[in-house]
């Protein structure tokens, strides 16, 4: 099992009291499976994804990622875990503007001190159809192209699980479809687990599992 979550709770201070963003969330996901997290805006989807990926810490509850107790780890240990096992695709792409498409994709391999980050990155860029745009900077690429670079970067780090936060949210329907296809295609080729936060029911339907959140609770 790649992901096992028990009774997860996230609170944040708000005004006089505390605001509960997630309450008693439990879920599990096997290797190679895909999971869609859906729900209306403000239901806690992105917060849940951040907790699962180790980008943030929960108030209580347990998260086991590849059998490792993420909830017991400090920031540095979580960072090390992300480097080895996690890939991430953001709604707003989050590419480094000063790096070319190729360099952005090379980044995870560089962080792992892999021997040939360039070859690996080129392969993934070719896989997402951007071989000819590898020397372009993010501001020279369209939104769809930037998201494809982000997907290539997420897969280039040989992660065991990939988290995607509204990957088609900033794209038009046509580009959204292309990106979704690409995400599932590459995922099936690499046999990674995939967790997607989305509003798009069609995209959610393509996943093996779906959980729906409302006011921080699984319904």
């Amino acid at each position: 099992m790649i992901l096992n979550v028990n009774n997860l709770r996230k609170e944040v201070p708000s005004g006089d009291g505390r605001l509960i963003i997630l309450d008693d969330v439990s879920l599990s996901l096997n290797d190679g499976e895909s999971l869609a997290i859906t729900g209306p805006s403000g239901s806690g989807k992105s917060t849940l994804l951040s907790l699962l990926a180790g980008l943030d810490t929960a108030t209580s509850g347990e998260i086991f990622l590849d059998d490792l107790a993420l909830h017991k780890m400090n920031e540095e240990e979580r960072t090390a875990l992300r480097k080895e096992k996690v890939g991430f695709v953001f709604q707003s792409f989050e590419l480094l503007p000063s790096l070319t498409a190729l360099e952005n994709v090379m980044l995870p391999s560089e962080l792992k001190s892999e021997k040939s980050p360039e070859t690996n990155a080129k392969n993934f860029l070719e896989r997402v159809g951007l071989k000819n745009r590898q020397d372009h900077y993010p501001n020279q690429l369209s939104g769809g192209e930037q998201q494809r670079v982000a997907i290539a970067r997420a897969f280039a780090c040989s992660a065991k699980i990939l988290f995607a936060d509204e990957p088609t949210g900033n794209l038009d329907p046509r580009n959204g479809e292309i990106i979704a296809d690409l995400l599932f295609e590459v995922n099936s080729e690499t046999d990674n687990a995939l967790v997607i936060v989305t509003h798009d029911q069609e995209l959610a339907d393509r996943c093996d599992k779906t959980i729906n959140l409302k006011l921080g609770k699984v319904i």
């Binding site: 943030d56 960072t79 980044l107 995870p108 780090c157």
Partner: protein, 808 residues
């Protein structure tokens, strides 16, 4: 609506802390400007009233005759005026006799200031002259004549009663023998002394005071009736050591002020850029909602109006405290309370704030107003903050600030062109030096990542290095001003500077005096022969064009601390003439090669101007406006003047000397030297406060420059951390990168300060330039420590946050 919105927006900006660096920089600039200009204004006013007292009036006329009031028109009757006769004579008491400088004054004396006197019962101030039949004397003369109050003294044939000791007199500039022991008597007793006979050496001084209009009218009339040998002296020509010391201090303060304001201006520019960036979406949204550009402009205009009012209020309050602390340091050097400042300092302060606003803030706001409402819909619409108009406005404001402080358009232009030229070369060289980047971010190790970042951000880094260089360089210049420049000024008065002058040494006394000095191990500077003579410029018709009396000397060797700037010093191989000081050459339009005559009593010497010299009047050695070649004065009878250093423990030797050589007048300038030295040390203290504020401005500039680049680093750090980059990789690479930036900036800052100090030494203070090695050590150290320290502070805030927090 706009008014309410502007208040809300302004308060929100202040509360959020985003305006902090702009507010603090403006407050710092205004504090420094108002503090320094209030201080220098009060100092100048005090100096003017001091000079007025020193002169004894607003206008002085010197003549060898006592018929001025018969010669001039009625205009003088609207003024307060006084007549006095000045001469030297021997005064006899019952047991002693002593040469004294005597001032015989009329009943109007003094017309400015008060005399401070001491009689048998008390010390008191008076604005009256001595009564008929009485004399006042200074303490030294009283002791030399062994007098008690009420004793009889004889001046010529007149018997007078000594009633008061002079502690302070306002017109200290009067008299040729100003340093000889002094006597003041009533002019109506002059006739019965029988001293003033045809051909006697007596000078009549006429002092005038009154409204500017009256004084100008009198001055104009005096110019017309002025005869050969007569002289007009007015305010604004304070050449005393104290006056020069204070004037020079003002230059130091203005320099410190200018530097601090330029630093603050750079910070304000950076802060405005950040402000604009944060408001892009805000303006775009307001436009989308239908707000007219003119209203948005009014909104931002109001925000900056509040900023100006707030910073002016706080800055001027701090400035007032600052100038008060400076005044406290120097107040004891002025006999009266310092006058209140005028409006000029406030005008300079408001102008500085206005220039900073118009040059470094408003252009950014104008640019912001040009943003398309489409930016709301499409974030990718570019917004270029750096435009030619923004740059030009900044440069124009830079020039305006320089001009405001130097009030010299050409000097301002030279500094402006120098600084901008060096900046372009500097930024270009740094850009090229950083080189082009290789493939990838180099995130495998801290060192690789640091170097990759240095190259990858070379445009931003070049500007950042420029900002750090300016901050370090200008701080080092202020540091150098407070340490080295002041130090070299202080060193110009060595510990063994002559502290005693001896004048009226006759040829007969000269040899025995040399023996006396040698016996007592006192080393005199040199014995200069001296006569009072008039100098006449000749045109082709042998007609006098200008005339004035000078103490002239003749020597073969150029005195120390004199420098020939035109022509050549006397030589054995050619015909020799005279050497003039540059002041006299300028004031009387006397040029190299001009033919002149020197009239000594009845003898006329025809000669020419062989050289023009600069004279260091701070040297405390005998200095001369006119020096002639000895061959011209072979048969002229003269007295001699010399100066020498007598250590404190041998001060009694001066009194012994005076007793032994009765006609020689020895006077001490120990107090004056002490006063100038003390002023320098007080100026150092005051300048250190300016240095502290400059350092603060520099820190703000460095911090703003760093902070400006850190928003993109924060984002990059969030991505790298998400992808698994460890804290240490990000922290160490940033520290390495910024240490290098700091080191480069420190070296360039040392270069900038060396060039700046060289320029200030040679052009502003006209001293000999030096190489200050400590700036080359301090520069890189400051750069390294401050920049990496600030980076450590900023990066700590980044690495201790989770990626989620950094993305928010």
């Amino acid at each position: 609506m706009i008014f309410k919105l502007s208040i809300r927006l302004f308060l929100r900006e202040v509360k959020s802390g985003y305006l902090t660096s702009m507010l603090v920089s403006l407050i710092l600039a205004i504090t420094i400007v108002s503090g320094i200009s209030l201080f220098t204004d009060r100092l100048e006013k005090a100096l003017n009233s001091e000079t007025e007292e020193f002169l004894g009036g607003k206008l002085k006329f010197e003549s060898n005759n006592n018929d001025l009031f018969e010669r001039i028109n009625e205009s003088y009757k609207d003024s307060q005026h006084t007549e006095m006769a000045l001469f030297a004579s021997v005064i006899f008491s019952d047991d002693e006799m002593q040469l004294s400088s005597i001032k015989a004054v009329d009943d109007s004396y003094p017309i400015i200031g008060e005399l401070e006197l001491k009689n048998s019962s008390k010390i008191y101030s008076t604005t009256k002259s001595p009564e008929k039949g009485t004399v006042w004397m200074d303490e030294r003369l009283r002791n030399l004549l062994s007098l008690s109050y009420g004793d009889e003294v004889f001046i010529g044939d007149a018997s007078l009663i000594f009633t008061d000791t002079i502690i302070y007199e306002p017109d200290r500039a009067s008299g040729n023998l100003a340093f000889a022991p002094k006597t003041i008597m009533n002019i109506s007793d002059l006739e019965k002394t029988q001293i003033i006979q045809p051909g006697s050496r007596v000078e009549y001084n006429y002092l005038f005071s009154g409204s500017e209009e009256t004084i100008n009218a009198i001055k104009e009339n005096l110019e017309q009736i002025k005869q050969s040998g007569e002289e007009i002296e007015s305010l604004g020509e304070d050449t005393s050591s104290l006056g020069r010391a204070i004037e020079r201090s003002e230059n130091f303060f203005l320099l410190g002020g200018l530097i601090a304001v330029l630093l603050s201006a750079c910070t304000i520019g950076i802060a405005s850029q950040r402000f604009t960036r944060r408001h892009i979406s805000y303006v775009a949204i307001l436009k989308t909602l239908g707000m007219k550009t003119v209203h948005i402009r009014s909104l931002y205009f109001l925000i900056f109006l509040y900023t100006t009012i707030l910073t002016l209020f706080i800055g001027i309050s701090f400035g007032w405290i600052l100038q008060n602390s400076f005044i406290n340091l120097l107040a004891s050097y002025f006999p009266t309370e310092l006058p209140n400042p005028g409006f000029y300092p406030l005008i300079v302060t408001c102008l500085t704030a206005f220039i900073c606003q118009m040059g470094f803030i408003y252009p950014h706001i104008l640019k912001l107003l040009s943003i398309s409402p489409m930016k709301v819909l499409k974030d990718s619409i570019s917004f270029n903050q750096q435009s030619i108009s923004v740059l030009l406005a900044g440069l124009l404001a830079f020039y305006a600030l320089l001009y405001l402080y130097t009030e010299q358009p050409i000097l301002s232009f030279i500094i402006f062109a120098g600084v901008t030229g060096l900046s372009i070369i500097g930024i270009g060289s740094i850009y090229l030096l950083l080189g082009s980047n290789g493939l990838g971010l180099g995130a495998t190790s801290s060192v690789k990542l640091a170097f990759s970042e240095l190259r990858r951000r070379r445009v931003g880094n070049s500007f950042q290095i420029f900002a750090f260089t300016v901050a370090i360089g200008l701080t080092l210049i202020t540091f150098s001003a407070s340490q080295n420049l002041l130090g070299s000024w202080q060193n110009s008065i060595p510990a063994d500077s002559p502290n005693n002058f001896a004048i009226n040494i006759t040829k007969e006394d000269k040899e025995s005096m040399e023996v006396f000095l040698k016996e007592n191990s006192i080393e005199p500077t040199q014995f200069f022969p001296v006569v009072n003579a008039s100098l006449n410029k000749l045109n082709g018709n042998d007609e006098n064009l200008s005339e004035r009396n000078f103490n002239i000397t003749w020597i073969g060797d150029l005195p120390a601390q004199n420098e020939i700037i035109e022509g050549s010093w006397f030589s054995d191989t050619s015909e020799n003439g005279i050497s003039l000081s540059d002041e006299i050459s300028e004031r009387y339009s006397l040029k190299l090669g001009d033919e002149v005559t020197i009239r000594v009593e009845s003898k006329v010497i025809k000669t020419f101007i062989q050289s023009i010299r600069t004279v260091n009047w701070d040297s405390f050695s005998p200095n001369f406006f006119v020096i002639g070649h000895p061959s011209l004065f072979e048969d002229i009878p003269s007295t001699f003047i010399t100066s020498f250093y007598i250590p404190t423990e041998k001060q009694d030797k001066a009194a012994e000397m005076m007793r032994k050589f009765r006609t020689v007048s020895v006077f001490s300038i120990e107090e004056l030297i002490k006063q100038v030295k003390e002023i320098i040390s007080q100026v150092t203290k005051a300048l250190n406060s300016i240095l502290f504020l400059t350092c603060l401005s520099s820190l703000f500039l460095a911090f703003s420059a760093l902070q400006d680049g850190f928003s993109t680093r924060r984002h990059q750090s969030a991505i790298l951390r998400t992808l698994g980059a460890q804290h240490n990789l990000i922290k160490n690479s940033s520290l390495i990168e910024f240490s290098l930036l700091g080191l480069i900036s420190g070296i360039l800052g040392a270069l900038l300060s060396s060039v700046g100090v060289y320029f200030i030494e040679t052009q502003v203070f006209e001293t000999t330039p030096n190489l200050y090695l400590e700036m080359w050590i301090l520069g890189p150290i400051i750069g390294l420590v401050i920049v990496s320290g600030l980076c450590f502070y900023l990066i700590k805030g980044v690495v201790k946050k989770s990626p989620k927090e950094l993305f928010n």
